[in-house]
Symmetry: C2
Subunit: 457 residues, 2 copies
């Protein structure tokens, strides 16, 4: 590994688009979550695929670590330069290259954020449905296999990426997938790169599947006495085939935080926030059937509305829940957990986590994507070592329980730094196979080293 030699060559390639300013290094070493500052040695701002290929050729030759950087919204430190090297910032590769409305796909550069993309799509009648809350970059969402509130209807990034352009560790440019709706032609390299967290290649172009903007949207809220009833209701709703567009769970503590932050007055009990997409008749029918089922399961009155302002307010409250929770304990920092379990085990998993939180004397509201079995606890910390240790313990128990229940250590935040320690338990010998693939595709181990699989090379 000769990072200085790599930086010299990169400086010649990129000129002042290779930055070594302290502010830039710190901005690319910081995390939205609780991880310590880990600045890279330099930040590269490529303008096109050829430059990305040039960067990788140089770094591969010198064994210099390369870490892709999108919007910096990872919650697990996925883009932190833990062994130094070069952060490749895609902010200058952030265009929509092509929208093919008839084929319902868009070809975009990785640096574009999902909100910017949807703004550009507005006039086409189409939208990109994956919504992780944060205004993440599309490249980062691909690398993390992100999802969020709409996955129950539209799937995760796994389901919404049709094709990729990727630069390999050696600087070769490959294309995976196509704009055809399906294929059985060869290995699914697209899916291999989706969720690989920049450890197998750098994504330089993404062909995304789009959806038609729904003609009508209705949204509503319902309150339950306990999480078990809410989950039972959701299970029945999904089995019934009601095509829920969003179905979000908020526990009583989250609702209290939202009330405080967003000046709302929900009863402080577990809630579901839901949304339906379709024709006016279909969303009305869906909402009515949903209302019948949740009422049978003890929901105290289901109100829904097709008004845009009501809906916008509802999802703003949901998307701001993280900030609402942080504000509920002024001055705190948070550990944000993320596990996913089979839906049949969700109520039990959440209840056990709540019991752990209470036993530990912590403040940690829980919320999640209940249709997906995916939930988060926002563990609020005062900065003391005591609370940090207690929170790590709760978080570990949550992951271990999810794995025992046949679930996964992370539903949507990725492995990053935080979940690496659970990979051997979760995957067993399949984790060794992941390492075999990593070594085959990145023999010098330069791509985001130490993430997903142990550092190699």
């Amino acid at each position: 590994m000769d990072i200085p030699a790599a930086l010299d060559a990169l400086s010649t390639l990129l000129g002042d688009r290779l930055s070594r300013s302290k502010a830039d290094l710190e901005a690319h070493g910081a995390s939205e979550s609780h991880y310590p500052l880990t600045p890279p040695d330099a930040v590269a701002y490529p303008q096109d695929t050829a430059e990305v290929a040039g960067i990788l050729k140089i770094c591969n030759q010198h064994g210099c670590p390369v870490i892709g950087w999108g919007a910096g919204t990872s919650l697990e430190g996925g883009a932190l330069a833990t062994t130094g090297g070069v952060a490749v910032d895609f902010s200058r590769m952030a265009s929509v290259l092509e929208v093919r409305a008839e084929d319902m796909v868009a070809r975009v550069q990785p640096g574009i954020t999902r909100e910017a993309l949807n703004t550009e799509l507005r006039a086409t009648g189409l939208f990109f449905p994956v919504d992780p809350g944060a205004n993440a970059s599309i490249g980062g969402m691909v690398a993390t296999r992100a999802s969020g509130t709409t996955a129950v209807r539209y799937g995760t990034m796994r389901d919404n990426v049709a094709a990729l352009e990727v630069v390999t560790a050696s600087g070769e440019v490959i294309r995976t997938g196509s704009a055809a709706p399906k294929s059985s032609s060869g290995y699914d390299l697209t899916s291999l790169f989706v969720g690989s967290e920049g450890t197998l290649g750098l994504i330089t172009e993404v062909t995304l599947r789009l959806q038609g903007q729904p003609e009508a949207v209705s949204a509503g809220v319902c309150a339950f006495g306990d999480i078990g009833s809410a989950v039972d209701a959701v299970t029945e709703v999904i089995l019934t085939g009601i095509p829920m567009a969003r179905i979000e769970f908020l526990d009583a503590a989250t609702v209290a935080a939202v009330n405080g932050y967003s000046k709302a007055d929900f009863p402080e009990t577990p809630h579901l926030f839901v949304e339906f997409h379709g024709t006016p008749a279909a969303v009305a029918e869906q909402a009515e059937r949903f209302g019948e089922i949740v009422t049978e399961h003890g929901c105290s009155g289901f109100d829904w509305s097709t008004k845009t302002e009501d809906r916008t307010r509802l999802w703003e409250m949901r998307h701001h829940a993280y900030w609402a929770i942080l504000a509920s304990r002024p001055g705190s920092r948070a550990i944000v957990t993320d596990v996913c379990v089979p839906v049949s085990r969700l109520a039990e998993a959440v209840a056990a986590t709540q019991a752990d939180i209470e036993a530990a004397g912590l403040q940690a509201p829980i919320l999640g994507h209940v249709g997906d079995g995916n939930y988060h606890a926002i563990l609020l910390l005062d900065g003391s070592e005591e609370e940090r240790i207690a929170a790590e313990k709760v978080s570990s128990a949550m992951v271990e329980r999810a794995l025992e229940m046949g679930g996964t250590a992370t539903g949507e935040h990725g492995v990053g730094i935080g979940k690496q320690k659970y990979m051997a338990t979760e995957h067993g010998p399949a984790w060794d196979m992941m390492s075999t693939i990593k070594r085959a595709l990145d023999p010098n181990g330069i791509l985001n080293p130490g993430k997903v699989v142990p550092a190699t090379g």
Copy 2:
């Protein structure tokens, strides 16, 4: 490579469940399509995963080819033993191991056929939606990344496999994925094995995603003057967001063959056969909106029905179309092509193929899954070398055109023997990456050698 030594050791392991009878070898060397008989050296009938692991350990030690065998319904010779070796027949591993209705998943062995699975699921209110027409085995469908008439609504095998148990080339048992609805934990090995055609491992267990049986189903047919109008109508239908469950295209020649075979009396022009799933109100609304759109595009009257007998007859006719087409030219054999293009190019692609067929003087009805851009020509051959050459030419032109249009050489039949020659053109350097992965996971090149990627080891 020492096949005799491998067979000796396998005989010790399996006793009379290693067959070398001529009838057995020929049954496992035959194809449903036009490929010549290619018998393996032996057929193994494992009873459990441990035996599959034992088979692979022996074959890996002796460099003996191993080819998984399900129901023998591949149309591209995917399971033919082109370099000899052992066919591993999964017919004794054909059980449903577990149905978890709340989680909408079933854990099954690879040898079960999709019809047997759906029979077992009937009482649960759930069904497995992927329907390639043939009564294929689930393991074969996974390996081929199969799809069929319902992919437009429920996706392909890529979308409907949650987890796998796989035995690797060295005989190690790994598990990929989980029953949790989603995950961002590590590389998506499940997707890597789906569509790998037995070249990376043998699948010994599959966790499938299930769907709720729709409360109501309606189906109907509509006739068009030409393929262009039919495709334009479908494009608009899909953009509008009508959740079509099936939307099948049959050209005039296919309709004529169906009329003759199934004693039907459809006008002999291009047709769409469609199906809707949902609540009674939803399927009625969908059918009405669909009817409005297709009428605008020149459909001469759209009839639909919710009666089970009407629907069963319709899909029997569609599923028997292949046999109807074969019967339309008595004594003929068929080359069945399979390409997939972006939907915006479908009408142009089909028209060009029809022109090629006419210019070649061949009989070759066209049908396809129009919502997916996926179509087939059934090239009927009299056995003469002249027709075979002409048909190969039409088939090649169809693939080359699909690739020029940004499509794929195979939408659902797999690479097998027939599509290998297009892989370099379709994938470019990504095909080399597939070979790199193959060499890493199967260094001795024993797993279905010569399929998907060039033979290695």
